[in-house]
Amino acid sequence: MNKEVAIIGVGWSGFHPSTPEVSYKELMYAAAVRAYADAGVDPRRDIESFVTVAEDFIEGTSIFDEYVPDQLGAALKSVHTITGDGLHGLATAYMLIRTGVFDVVAVEGHSKASNIQTLDSIVGHAQDPVLNRPLRLNTHFVAGLEMQRYLHDSGSSLEQCAAVVVKNRHNALKNPLASYSANLTAEDVMQGPPLAWPLGRLETATPVDGSVVIVLASGRKAAELSDNPVWIAGMGWCNGSASLESREWSTLPYVEKAAQMAYRQAGIGDPWDEVDFAEIDDTYAYKELQSLEALGICAFGEAGELLMQGAFDPYGEFPVNASGGSLGVGHLLDATGLHRALEAVLQLRGEAGAHQIEDVHTGLVQSWRGVPTTSAAVAIFDNQEG
């Protein structure tokens, strides 16, 4: 088993629809302080490199990486920013430590979604400026197109998609971080307002504010600092077609490739048997089903049926998004992958509280950067107790 890099500390702050009491810097600081205390490290002395994930238009600041170091204890240190999901940030830290040059690296991601007055317009500017944007469609339309084709090809149903929402928002009832926990029926979900039919508004995760910081260490350093390290057994990431005109709509080949990369490193042949639980993309409800299939956890077209049988419930054979996922907790924009990683770490340490899953050793985390991208990442974590 891969014992080169471990997660030795996690911290978070916010996780509310708005956080008017703090600036983005203060939000990041609160998460960082908790993560460093959890890891037992002093950032000025012990952390050698820092990675953040951020996008300029989301921050409202050009070359936002400027404003990262101070509140993380990273001033005048090796800091860089990538535009990626939090799992891309985690993969970056994983690579940095594997070079042998760094022993302790911190990763940060945050969302101040509540401060963005024109989020849909900004996301619209991720569309091809010449070919797609002039059509002036709200970017959720890309999810509508994908869901339509996915349902058509896989045979999955609207009821099954709605059941994802019911499960995740119900799971969120046990998670103190969650903003959108609820007891709903599939009927409630399907009768909600349409967004980009067949996609409904209630099948779409709502943004929240929050920051997550994760501290990673080399095997040598983890042994010294931590009595509950969570090991990174594998990391994979991949992009698909950037253009809408040339992508597969019913399957997610880039998620599949990212998963294969991570499984290869972790030595996983059959994730259904070898992984105990997953925290995966549910930005839109159908994505959970589509992603489960791309991850090879079940065959194409099977996820909906397994869901209805309860296989993905917290007490099912393969719990998926026991935290409540993005539908239940809220969506942290590009920090979402770090939120899922945080939930997986808590599970593997046995610290997930009311939503703790029994007897878990290996967890899978997967994230997608949202419409209109085809950018995904996958991580496999292990507590080495199994």
Binding site: D65, A91, T99, V123, S218, G236, C238, T373, T374
Partner: protein, 388 residues
């Protein structure tokens, strides 16, 4: 784990032009294709792609990395985009380095692209949003301010004359006359031309500044076992370093770039360099403005504080001097499509160290070179040391 050796085995670049016909995707692909062709590889041989461009405001595209990803060759590949402002061009090969050095990748394509001309009416206005949104932006700062403030502080602290600083611009623009991709190469430019050019933000004048432009550069990086199979002239990445100083830039002395010093020390330690002035044979410090090259040479420990100008006055910095500086022509001469300009410096080292730099080739077959970039709020240093 033991560190894996990483080599540069191919390079390509587009011309740097004021306004390119090609889209950002097309510029990226032109450079990437040329880099792959130069080492006889195809996209099938590439395990992953690293991409640099900053900021999104130029292109007016949110998640610009995702938009450009297929142009950079990342369709069906692991793809990462880094950004550290102006330091990005030298950071993106560092990102490629850690991809390969981690053991996860054998061949990585590194692409840096910038298309600044799309921004209307002028790319400079896009820089308003680099300032703090609450404490600085309401003052309507111009990007030139920070350079002018830093240049004034540097000149005044060390007593350096403008007519001496102009020598940097003259040297670099003359060097660029030999670069086939250069936008502003001028073999006959003089110090008087620089001193007589329009005052933009005193002490900064028109010819102290590099031109905004469009362009792309690409490199192919490979692990040792692959590099040795593919080329008999690999150029090794011997050391990398990067440091980011506090964002509170009005709380530090701008006369000296400590972050460049720290980044250089990190790279020198990795490369086993003890006396950089003796062990570096060719240097491409970041030169978006002429004084910046001096500032950076001092941070890089290639000159004492306030003394870098002597390299130019003595002729050491000339292509046939004992420490050729920016033989490419630098940003002042070749042009400044931000991320691409930084990577152009690394490509120049690759060509110079392989003795393939054509009319720009410096004599004496240099063995080791350094490239450096800088950016953000006078805040980040990125350094790469390469050798053959």
């Amino acid at each position: 784990m033991g560190m894996r050796k990483v080599a540069v085995i191919g390079a390509g670049m587009t011309k740097f032009v004021r306004r390119a016909l090609e889209t950002p995707k097309e510029l990226s692909w032109e450079a990437a294709k040329m880099a792959l062709d130069s080492c006889e590889l195809t996209m099938d041989d590439v395990d992953g792609v690293c991409f640099g461009t900053a900021p999104d405001a130029f292109d007016g595209v949110h998640m610009n990395g995702e938009y450009c990803s297929d142009g950079a060759g990342a369709w069906n590949k692991p793809f990462m985009r880094c950004f550290v402002g102006g330091g990005t061009g030298v950071f993106v090969p560092i990102q490629g380095w850690y991809h390969v050095a981690s053991g996860l990748f054998d061949v990585v394509l590194v692409v840096a692209e910038e298309k600044m001309s799309s921004y209307y009416p002028h790319a400079q206005a896009a820089f308003l949003t680099i300032f703090d949104h609450t404490t600085e932006r309401p003052l309507k700062p111009n990007l030139l301010w920070i350079f002018a403030l830093e240049m004034n502080r540097y000149m005044t602290t060390y007593g350096i004359r403008k007519e001496d600083i102009a020598r940097v611009s003259v040297q670099h623009k003359r060097n660029a006359a030999n670069h086939p991709c250069a936008l502003l190469g001028e073999a006959n430019i003089t110090v008087e031309d620089v001193l007589n050019s329009e005052v933009l933000a005193w002490p900064v004048q028109r010819f102290d500044v590099s031109p905004v432009s469009d362009g792309a550069v690409a490199l192919v990086l490979a692990a040792e076992h692959v590099a040795k199979r593919l080329t008999d002239k690999p150029v090794w990445i011997e050391g990398v370093g990067w440091h980011l100083d506090t964002a509170y830039w009005t709380n530090r002395d701008l006369a000296y770039p400590r972050y460049v010093e720290y980044a250089a020390k990190m790279a020198y330690d990795m490369a086993g360099i003890k006396e950089p002035r003796k062990e570096i044979h060719i240097a491409e410090p970041y030169d978006p403005f002429d004084y910046k090259a001096l500032h950076h040479l001092e941070g890089l420990q290639l000159a004492e504080r306030g003394k870098a100008i002597e390299l130019y006055l003595s002729g050491a910095a000339a292509p046939d001097g004992d420490l050729p500086i920016c033989p490419s022509g630098g940003l002042l001469g070749v042009g400044n499509p931000i991320a691409a300009a930084g990577l152009m410096k690394v490509a120049e080292l690759f060509w110079q160290l392989r003795s393939e730099a054509g009319a720009r080739q410096v004599p004496g077959q240099p063995r080791r070179g350094l490239a450096q970039a800088w950016g953000d709020l006078m805040q980040v240093g990125t350094v790469i040391v390469m050798g053959r």
